[in-house]
Symmetry: C2
Subunit: 314 residues, 2 copies
């Protein structure tokens, strides 16, 4: 809650902020503020919980909470598609959304560099006969599994015959689904293997993601003598993750400069991981001086002695 965490199903259920109905928090002066609502709608005065959610413990400490839950769908369908271009990736997302609405519960994009490396690390056989430029791992919540499965298969057939996708795999068992998800979920292992390495978590307009990733890689190679970068992320949320091997840990600030300064207007230096201490120097890049001043003023007002998570965020 303090970091307003995201994850793979934000496209369906939203960030943590949307799932907190009420909470109890402690302010810097020791006051316990209890707003442990379980009701869905409450416009009685200011929405106090927003001071605690996503502020990384710098305005107060969350001690209890009530969360909104959703019923588990009867079945989930996992599928992996291979795509020839970035344009086909974004157009597939639009197509899936039109066909599946909010039954689409995940849409995770992987650039070829990430995908190949993940297969090697997880020791998974290449699921397609040849390599492709992009991959999308999608999950569909099925309320009526028989009907929905055939509808998804129809959607994939349409995408194949129009050339939007080059190939597709539909998981036919939980084991197959898990194996496909292992490709996407080896980010932690990848970062370990690449060490010394840097990880970035950025938000930017979906249409500009591929050009941006190419720009960062080119500058990294040209200006720092770097190698490839590994790109993947929550495409439906406009959120990319970059993982970059460094020649030495001390190169991190120079890479940060390339990653953050290459962001187009309207981006964010932190999509879901927060600011902490590492991104603190870059907060001002995507936040205007009046926003920074207002954040500082709130911090000063609610924690005048600076005792809450000192040195973080602001």
């Amino acid at each position: 809650m303090a970091t307003n965490a995201g994850g793979n199903r934000v496209i369906r259920y939203g960030m943590t902020r949307q799932l907190v109905l009420g909470l109890e928090g402690v302010l810097a002066d020791g006051t316990v503020v209890s707003s442990l609502n379980t009701i869905i709608k409450d416009n009685a005065g200011y929405d106090i919980k927003q001071l605690f959610i996503g502020t990384e413990g710098t305005l107060g400490v969350v001690t209890r909470a009530s969360l909104r839950l959703f019923p588990e769908p009867p079945e989930r369908l996992t599928l992996l598609t291979a795509l020839p271009s970035y344009e086909s990736l974004t157009s597939l997302l639009r197509f899936f959304r039109r066909r599946m609405g909010s039954q689409l519960s995940a849409f995770e994009a992987m650039w070829d560099s990430y995908f190949e490396c993940a297969l090697a690390i997880q020791k998974i056989e290449r699921p397609f006969q040849k390599r492709h430029a992009f991959y999308a791992l999608a999950e569909v919540e099925m309320l009526n599994p028989e009907v929905d499965r055939s509808s998804v298969e129809g959607t994939l057939a349409d995408a194949l015959s129009s050339g939007q996708i080059s190939d597709a795999i539909v998981a036919h068992s939980l084991a197959e689904a898990k194996s496909l998800w292992r490709i996407r979920e080896c980010a932690g292992e990848l970062l370990g293997r690449l060490a010394p390495a840097a990880a970035h978590d950025i938000s930017l307009p979906i249409t500009q993601m591929d050009r941006y990733a190419t720009t960062v890689e080119q500058r990294f190679q040209r200006e720092m003598g770097g190698d490839r970068i590994f790109v993947f992320g929550h495409l439906g949320d406009g959120n990319l993750h970059l993982m970059t091997p460094l020649r030495k840990a001390e190169d991190a600030p120079a890479l940060d400069k390339i990653v953050y300064e290459s962001l187009p207007a309207g981006s964010s230096v932190s999509a879901e991981h927060g600011i902490g201490t590492l991104k603190k120097p870059w907060l001002g890049l995507t936040r205007s001086p009046p926003e920074m001043a207002l954040m500082r003023s709130l911090k000063q007002h609610l924690d005048p002695r600076g005792i809450l998570n000192r040195g973080r965020v602001i």
Copy 2:
């Protein structure tokens, strides 16, 4: 945005708070704070827009905004069900949610008293042969109209044969759908006809709504010599609206006392309409002293001279 408005499709799309991506606001000291994001995920520092959303203009004035939009579904299906009891109403909501997931875009409950009065005001012929205790008007977003329509009809047939509903009508044209919605949407006309009258907008646990409405009506009749009350609302959101004819306008405070003091624990005196001036005396009923103190402290900090929407909320 300043009132975090709700409406009939909150069950599908959330309150206004969930639909604002970014905004520009003006603080009491004249500072223009621009957070006109269009990205979906942004955890870079404090979420400044929360100070403006739902605070009724008392902490700042919203001057521009960027909103999240969703594609219009290919078709919407409207249906009206008649139910024998309150238990069947809540169980129908659960049943619809299980069968339709987030394709269920509205679920509006009407008590018989409201329903009959609405038919008379709108001059609509009674849609069922006899009167029933409760009615639910539902809307389903159809991505694949042919398949979805037959699936909804199957769901209704199951609900009928299990006795969960007593009768059902599915709109077969836009005109029929509009006519059904006119029953639900005559709240404004009803309030005018009942004048002098009072309207209330409360949130409470769904399981306790019927008992609560009965308690309020009984106390109103016993303690104030009142007549019937008219009950309807957004059942899926836990939000009821009450409309009550008064003998004279001066009776309003006595009725407020009954309406608000009868609320069970964990309720709210304002689900979606805000506090303004009318509910200001009741804010403390569903907000604890530390919450009230924190609201006052924020107001004092951000608007020390009290020039923003003076006298409202806090």
